[in-house]
């Protein structure tokens, strides 16, 4: 398989016969075994033209500056799952904070200094007998202010349709095989709320600091498609 990265020897082997005649050659593949892709030089779509027109009008009329737009894009790109991980680690180490998080996750996140804007956040807790999974069947609702941009798979029709119908099969494909006596609770973000899974604290972490704990909290563990790392 040309994309079998663990043994990538088709890229790095030191004998010098032509790749095109080597065992990994496929029609339509580059010499290094990757598919050729078209340059994206097709015409703008209707909505791309609309976005440019509205943006330029807003700038022309002095309602907003190009620098403000660039800054906002940078701020959006800078958000990452480390923000959510810090919230989770705080909840693991501070029972009073955890209670506040489960009561009002927006207020608890702001308390930690995260600017989450108007986000209405609900935290759902994984316990010994409950596992939570987040999906947005209607579009791609995701707690971006706390976790950054959603992964591409979160927005696919496959994930959105299957997560509500066969969540256990989906979780197995993510490497999570839940026992039958664990209750799976799927949360469909259909309206104004966004969801954060509060994963269970892994065993063997009693001596770790809050910062060390945060490093164990993966993005997927806060969506519910994974568990935190083990120390």
């Amino acid at each position: 398989m040309p994309h079998d990265h663990p043994d990538h020897d088709h890229d790095h082997h030191d004998h010098d016969h032509d790749h095109d005649h080597g065992p990994f050659h496929h029609e339509g593949m580059s010499p290094s075994g990757h598919p050729y892709r078209h340059d994206n030089d097709s015409p703008l779509t209707y909505w791309q033209r609309m976005e440019i027109a509205v943006r330029e009008l807003l700038i022309d009329k002095g309602r907003i500056t190009a620098a403000e737009i660039a800054n906002q894009i940078e701020a959006m790109d800078a958000r990452s799952p480390t923000n959510g991980a810090a919230v989770v680690a705080r909840a693991w180490t501070d029972p009073a904070f955890k209670a506040r998080l489960l009561h009002d996750a927006s207020a608890a996140s702001r308390e930690m200094g995260f600017d989450i804007g108007p986000l209405n956040l609900i935290a759902v807790e994984n316990t010994a007998d409950t596992h939570n999974l987040i999906v947005c069947t209607l579009c791609s609702c995701y707690p971006r202010n706390l976790l950054g941009l959603p992964p591409d798979w979160y927005k696919t029709r496959a994930y959105r349709t299957r997560a509500v119908r066969e969540p256990r099969a989906v979780l197995r494909e993510f490497g999570l095989d839940l026992p039958a006596n664990t209750t799976v609770r799927v949360h469909d973000s259909t309206a104004d709320m966004r969801y954060l899974v509060l994963p269970a604290r892994p065993a063997g972490t009693d001596t770790l600091t809050e910062r060390e704990l945060a490093a164990l909290v993966t993005r997927d563990s806060m969506i519910g498609t994974g568990l935190p790392l083990r120390p």
């Binding site: 209607l138 119908r165 039958a180 799927v186 259909t190």
Partner: protein, 92 residues
């Protein structure tokens, strides 16, 4: 407090936020979320009245019947009050 509700089995035109797979299904109100502007008007740039929003919990058995992967697993979704009606008590 665990009020049993049914999602109205309506098919109105336009932008709605009640997913098709929940229409006509019964669940219990998990919590009330307060009032939010109605997205069915917001989507068209119209002045939007506020509507009460609820989280409703369904069992997988209720949603998928015998095809349910695990009947007692649950699905929670947010639904606006005008999409909910009191559940009819199971007559069968």
């Amino acid at each position: 407090m665990a009020e049993r509700v049914r999602v109205k089995a309506l098919t109105p035109p336009g932008h709605v936020r009640a997913p098709w797979y929940l229409r006509g299904r019964e669940g219990v109100v998990e919590r009330s979320l307060g009032n939010f502007h109605n997205p069915e008007q917001l989507a068209y740039g119209l002045p939007a009245e506020t509507k009460p929003l609820y989280r409703v919990r369904f069992t997988m058995a209720e949603l998928w019947g015998p095809a349910a992967e695990n009947p007692t697993d649950t699905l929670d979704a947010e639904l606006y009050g005008h999409w909910l009606e009191k559940a009819r008590t199971h007559a069968a």
